[in-house]
């Protein structure tokens, strides 16, 4: 009996693993893009914003002016319990609407492109094309991304958002409302520059204390970006 169960397990395992990886990859990539479409950085004394309705309106209006972003990024993943970190760098492009290209160049190569409801990921060996519509989790995440792009993230039903500000930046503290998102994030802190409403940094805080921070530098805004960059 034990052997029989083992044989069934061996037959089923690859399919189970494939399914699990497919679903989790889509979700994880989506989260990453959410983070990428926002922006943040560092903080000083942040105060809750004084006029919420006015900020909301202004955020939506100003976000519309951001047509494209080209910049470098530095990503730092910190495993707090293990006192370990890994730093990676690369290039980031965003083009309105719904087009993102993120290219990790050091210390490994990894490319993610999102274009509408399609996504491509490529490492140094192979590439995967994913249709967001075929993946409910990714579809869910796609909604959030669109909210970010359209400046309606403050009305997102996936996160409760608290907004703070200092003299140079806004800080959006996004706390997941659903269990699915809460499994990955304690919160996401997006810092947005007041001068142009572009993302300065993104900090993804995980439930067990690990943290990933992406810092965007050398930004060029609203230049012409060829659609070919986002071709899948």
């Amino acid at each position: 009996m034990g052997n029989y169960v083992n044989k069934i397990a061996v037959i089923c395992l690859p399919f189970l693993l494939a399914r699990l990886f497919q679903k989790t990859l889509g979700l994880a990539c989506g989260f990453f893009f959410i983070a990428s479409l926002s922006a943040f950085a560092q903080n000083s004394p942040d105060q809750p914003i004084a006029d919420w309705p006015s900020f909301k309106k202004q955020f939506a209006t100003e976000s519309l002016r951001l047509l494209s972003i080209r910049c470098d990024f530095t990503q730092e993943k910190i495993l707090s319990a293990l006192t370990e970190k890994i730093t990676s760098t690369g290039k980031f492009w965003f083009k309105r609407s719904n087009k993102v290209r993120m290219e990790y160049t050091h210390p490994f190569f990894y490319l993610m492109i999102m274009n509408g409801d399609k996504m491509l990921v490529r490492d140094d060996q192979k590439e995967n094309r994913i249709t967001i519509k075929s993946n409910k989790l990714l579809q869910h995440v796609n909604r959030i991304i669109i909210d970010c792009v359209q400046g309606t993230i403050l009305e997102s039903k996936d996160f409760s958002v608290n907004v703070f500000e200092n003299d140079k930046t806004f800080l959006l503290v996004m706390t997941p409302l659903s269990k699915t998102l809460a499994e990955f994030f304690k919160n996401i802190r997006v810092r947005v520059e007041k001068k142009d409403y572009s993302v300065q940094s993104i900090e993804m805080n995980e439930p067990l204390g690990d943290r990933t921070t992406i810092l965007f530098t050398g930004k060029t805004l609203n230049e012409q970006l060829a659609d070919a960059m986002f071709a899948l």
């Binding site: 395992l13 989790t24 210390p107």
Partner: protein
């Protein structure tokens, strides 16, 4: 000609049942065993490439050697999100610190646990060792409940060739290591022989 499909089926049946191992027990050469036995890995980051039944995925793996001689294994995607974090205590017991719900299934945990147990050489610290000869290679192994963990060297005991999980007849999993940096080698390639799962790890050099 009419018999060809039947003959082919018979051939494939018997071929698939053919044992991978033709091991002959030999006296343990303790000197060779202690020279070749996998050393505990030091802390390193790896870029992971996973192929499961035609699907390809990647991410980052941290293998961390802890001060108490235990090991931790953490898998994140490139964007930094943690998918699982487990470890092996000093006595080799598996402990899950974190695993996302979609991966937290008994079968997945067992498979990943056994895969990294072999990569880390945990079974060989539990002993006792036995040894076998195939004519070309020498197998050193530690028997567990249903399977045996092997580390394999050439007849002249020159270097570690690979690691394997297997039962009495069949090879289940093999691990090949290559490149400089041992005991945290540049490349680690784990292959399952009973289904299509391959995990390739390439060490990441950080500045």
């Amino acid at each position: 000609m009419r018999c060809l499909p039947f003959s082919l089926s018979c051939f494939l049946f018997f071929w698939s049942c053919a044992p991978d191992y033709h091991l002959h027990t030999i006296p343990l050469d303790s000197g060779c065993a202690s020279k070749i036995a996998p050393l505990p890995m030091t802390s390193s980051w790896y870029h992971a490439s996973v192929d499961v039944t035609g699907n390809h995925w990647s991410g980052l793996v941290l293998i961390k050697s802890m001060p108490d001689s235990s090991h931790r294994v953490v898998f994140t995607n490139e964007a930094g999100l943690t998918f699982f974090d487990f470890g092996f205590s000093k006595d080799g017991k598996l402990k899950i610190y974190f695993m996302i719900k979609k991966l937290n299934k008994k079968l997945v945990v067992q498979t990943l646990g056994k895969d990294f147990e072999l990569i880390l050489g945990e079974p060989f610290r539990k002993g006792p060792l036995q040894s076998w000869d195939t004519g070309q290679e020498v197998y050193f192994g530690v028997k567990q409940k249903k399977e045996t963990a092997y580390f394999i060297t050439s007849k002249d005991c020159a270097s570690l060739q690979r690691l394997e999980w297997g039962d009495a007849r069949k090879r289940r999993v093999s691990v090949k290591i290559s490149g400089p940096g041992y005991p945290s080698p540049e490349k680690i390639e784990l292959t399952h022989h009973t289904f299509a799962l391959r995990i390739a790890l390439t060490r990441i050099g950080q500045e």
